[in-house]
Amino acid sequence: MITVRHLSKQFKEVKALDDVSFSVGEGEVFGYLGPNGSGKTTTIRLLLGLLKPTAGAALLWGKDAGSDPDIRRRIGVLLESDGLYPRLSAYDNLSYFARLYSVRNPEGRINSLLDFAGLSERRNDKIGTFSKGMRRKLGLVRALLHSPDLLVLDEPTSGLDPEAQKMVRDLILTLSARSGITVFLNSHDLDEVQRICGRVAILQKGRLRALDTLKRLQSASSQNGVDFLLADSSRLVEARDVLADVRGVEAVSLGDNGVRVTLGNGAGTAELVAALENRGIEIDEVRKCRRSLEEVYLDIIRQEEE
């Protein structure tokens, strides 16, 4: 569905994107990450046909979205700005875009989406009077109005309260699972990406630094670690000291309700469990430590900077 091949974009002396290649399949929820100025927005603009590549290609269904209005009809976008006219009402905004996208039965579609977003009561209010979160929600409604096959989202939950953030996340997952919609998600919220994306790409200084499934990225960069969750949190410090004395343990750190152990060569989980049990420290759960996306992301970014 999305094919990016050796894509480069140069703005005068600045190389915003340098030989980036990846593809996204149908029904996938794809996370696109990177620090500010890494080239994420440029990639999105190239995909949407708003910019022309200096080299390579950014294609949707094998075509350039910029020159094909029929391809653009299949895409829903929520970019950095909400894409709404502040002097028009919520209904008039949606009605305008519904006409542009030739939505069938626009009245019914608008009403059901406004209901879904909890904005029915504000349908006749001008967007200028809406809070940032409400505008963001309505922007998402606008992007979904024509039931697109591909949803391009740039920080979709920015400015939303936790409840609304959850609503958006659930919606994305539902759309992907039930309707087979493909989602290209650009976000700084790594927790959000971790919850909803199957695959991620990490971009830095215009170059692709990582591209894989979340699981593989997390496993590949994980150290050999084990988390111990204790029944009695008052014995955390004691447990840390016990574990630190076990042969082969490289490091021990305290968490909220447990201890994280980094193992060196020759050490095994069984010895650690035995050491704690010998001291009468009750263990609730032992699990192999998997690093969060945030840790993986920061590692990749720092490695490249070094």
Partner: protein, 234 residues
Amino acid sequence: MTGAAIVFRKELTELATTRSTILTGIGFAVFFGGMYSLRVGAGGPVPLAKSLGSMLFFLTSLIGLFLGYTMAAQVFLREKTDAVIETLLCAPIRLGEIWLGKTVAVAVFADLFALSAGVLMSVIVSLRAGSLATAPPEVIFHVLVGVPLLTACLVGLLGFAQLLLGMKENRIIGLALFVPIFAGLYGLGYTSAGAFAVSWNKVLLLSLVAVAVLALLLRGSHHISRERIVTSLP
């Protein structure tokens, strides 16, 4: 409904609900309609119909062009100031259709006031004369067809220039397009009340030139670069 018609409808709605625009239009129509009506018949022994005709020609042209000029900037820059342009460019609509919809909306809206000013002036002149004063048919053609086309031509030129520059308002270009036309028409109208002969040849030529320019602009507007607009966004 085509893309241009959708944009036209939306722009007309926005113009019609903007209080300052309506007040400006009404103010212009009433002030200039009233003022110019006093000049009808003031140019010596010229027949009333001819005097009214030449004044109608100038009045409606001036109001249409001036209001078109003032509205063009806000209408063509609206998407950029409202941060909607990127989203709009992602929609299945061509830049040429956006240009056309906006141009026609501004021209129609500005001409409503130009027409109102013309009607007001004719009513005042008729009341003063004690009988119904009518303008020659070539002037009526100009008011109904020529003025909308000329206004669309100026608005289209201004909008085209703004889109070409990446949705930037260039006041120098705007003034360079508007001032000569406005000054020429105003000067002619001021100095020759009743003496200027409006003929079919002149009004048809003006309309044809306007149509030709609009056709060229429409063709050119399909080739305006989206990249130039997007890269100029803050």
